[in-house]
């Protein structure tokens, strides 16, 4: 047993590559149990990849991914599917099953993993939908829902089996202020009410900082910094400072690498 009980997820020396390109180099991340942990970084830095490594949907080139006392990359295919029952994921698009209505989407994990009666499943689905404020939308199909409603239904489905770990992939992208406010409140509320561990992958600084107990900032295939939101705001690291303050130019340049501007315009390069 290598995992510390204070941590729900531990990445130890994880390296991940796509082809010959290295996405993460020897990364160590520890997600504290029962807290909301934000994983932040600029777009394209591999935040979603990190989430998929934690769910073992991707296999690292080297390193260990410990969840619930198990090193996920070493598990067999069927054991891996069993291990995932303790996790819930809210995907960026919601990823609702388009051929099922709202009720059946939320009931799906209960139907495939439990032997509960239809009456019991109905009660649980109603409670989960009540928690996200969509009990009235029970008969709607996914294409009848707005983007924000889809994510809330997906959230109800993600908590249907009462997972110990809930992962959110860019939950605030493309949401109007009301939907965003609802999601922010729900993430914190569910974490505290259900006593679960929440991992929020996002580049939305204000929203994530407002609910996260702890934040990792990733970039260039490494963990650039970690700490509470206040600690990171006061960081001396110029890359973290640029990200936390949203400066357009700094260690991460505004311009993509290009030849000399004057030479390019004159056609003399």
């Amino acid at each position: 047993m290598s995992v510390d009980n204070a941590y729900a997820v531990e990445l130890k020396g994880v390296t991940f590559k796509r082809g010959s390109r290295s996405i993460f180099n020897n990364v160590d991340i520890r997600i504290p149990r029962g807290k909301v942990t934000g994983i932040m970084g600029p777009s394209g830095c591999g935040k979603t990849t990190l989430l998929r490594l934690m769910g073992a949907q991707l296999r690292p080139a080297s390193g260990e991914v410990w969840v619930g006392g198990q090193n996920l990359p070493t598990l067999s295919r069927s054991d891996l599917f069993d291990a995932r029952k303790q996790m819930g994921v809210l995907f960026q698009s919601g990823a609702l099953f388009t051929d099922l209505d709202v009720f059946e989407n939320v009931a799906f994990p209960l139907r495939v993993h439990t032997q509960l009666s239809d009456e019991m499943i109905r009660d649980i689905v109603l409670m989960k939908l009540q928690a996200v404020g969509l009990r009235g939308a029970i008969e709607l199909m996914p294409d009848e829902l707005s983007g924000g409603m889809k994510r809330r239904v997906a959230l109800a489905r993600a908590i249907a089996l009462d997972p110990q770990i809930l992962m959110y992939d860019e939950p605030f992208v493309g949401q109007d202020p009301i939907a965003m406010g609802v999601l922010v409140r729900l993430i914190r509320l569910l974490n505290d009410a259900l006593g679960i561990t929440s991992i929020v992958v996002s580049h939305d600084l204000a929203e994530t900082a407002s609910i996260a107990d702890y934040i990792y900032v990733v970039g260039d295939g490494q963990v650039l910094g970690q700490g509470t939101p206040d600690e990171l705001m006061g960081s001396d690291n110029p890359r973290i400072r640029q990200f936390m303050k949203g400066d357009p130019d700094g260690p991460v340049p505004f311009h993509f690498p290009a030849p000399n501007y004057r030479a390019d315009l004159l056609g003399t390069r």
Partner: protein
């Protein structure tokens, strides 16, 4: 455009060969995981019935209409050729043998690849691009068991049945043209057919062919959907690949199977 050096061409050829071997390996593992091992979920029979409906029943219309027309054309062509030798009474056996041995299994498989195969690829590809497959994985449900396996079995069961239906309606269409339109004596039409068609050599071999085609076409269709790039362009490319690869595989396998079943060597 820069001319490629010989070394560059050899390198690209080697890369293509490695890619082909990698795809074959992936598709083999994909099939093995889908059809074997534990991890199946409850309600598997219901999933199969649902897929039998969308893959098999929904393909009935195109199969029946095509079968009738092909039987009618066979009858017209057969009659005009056989009439030159005064053998027009043998048109029944010609239609039956052609349909049972060749056209039934082959044309049904080609139509199946175009209608059901492309739909399977697009459906699974779309599930991949909208993260529904990832979502299933994270709910702890293996998409290979829940999504792929019922579709594989549905294709495997449906196609041979559709091929039999194709041959039956084709023979009916042929008899309508030959007997009711061209005036071939009905008794000779059916008795010649009965005397010359062997259950094991013709009917059974045709069914065996369509079983092989069913396996290959459905395998290609579901694999292309599962393995596609999750973008609209990727899904479109995968759908095209399904129809092209499945059609070529059917025609190539048909030659091999025909040589094994009917070649006298």
């Amino acid at each position: 455009m820069r001319r490629k050096s010989l070394l560059e061409r050899i390198r690209l050829f080697g890369r293509s060969a490695i890619d082909v071997v990698a795809v074959l390996g992936r598709s083999g593992l994909f099939l093995m995981h889908a059809l074997t091992g534990r991890g199946g979920i409850g309600g598997g029979f219901q999933l199969l019935v649902k897929q039998l409906y969308s893959v098999g029943v929904m393909s009935l219309a195109i199969i029946v209409v095509s079968g009738v027309f092909i039987g009618m054309v066979l009858s017209l062509q057969g009659f005009s050729i056989l009439a030159k030798y005064g053998s027009e009474q043998a048109v029944g056996q010609m239609i039956a043998l052609t349909l049972l041995r060749e056209l039934g299994p082959v044309v049904t498989a080609l139509l199946f690849a175009g209608r059901a195969g492309s739909a399977l690829t697009a459906e699974i590809g779309n599930m991949k691009s909208t993260e529904q497959l990832s979502s299933l994985e994270m709910i702890g449900v293996d998409p290979l068991k829940y999504i792929v396996a019922p579709r594989l079995w549905a294709g495997f069961i449906s196609l041979p049945l559709l091929a039999i239906i194709f041959s039956v309606v084709g023979i009916w269409g042929g008899s309508w043209v030959a007997v009711d339109w061209l005036g071939v004596y009905e008794g000779s039409f059916w008795s010649n057919m009965q005397n010359s068609v062997s259950f094991t050599d013709d009917v059974l071999n045709g069914v065996i062919k369509s079983l092989v085609f069913a396996f290959v076409v459905t395998w290609i269709a579901v694999f292309q959907g599962y393995d596609c790039e999750p973008t609209s362009e990727g899904i479109s490319r995968a759908t095209t690949k399904t129809v092209v690869y499945a059609s070529l595989a059917v025609l190539g396998l048909d030659f091999i199977l025909t040589a094994l079943m009917f070649g006298d060597f």
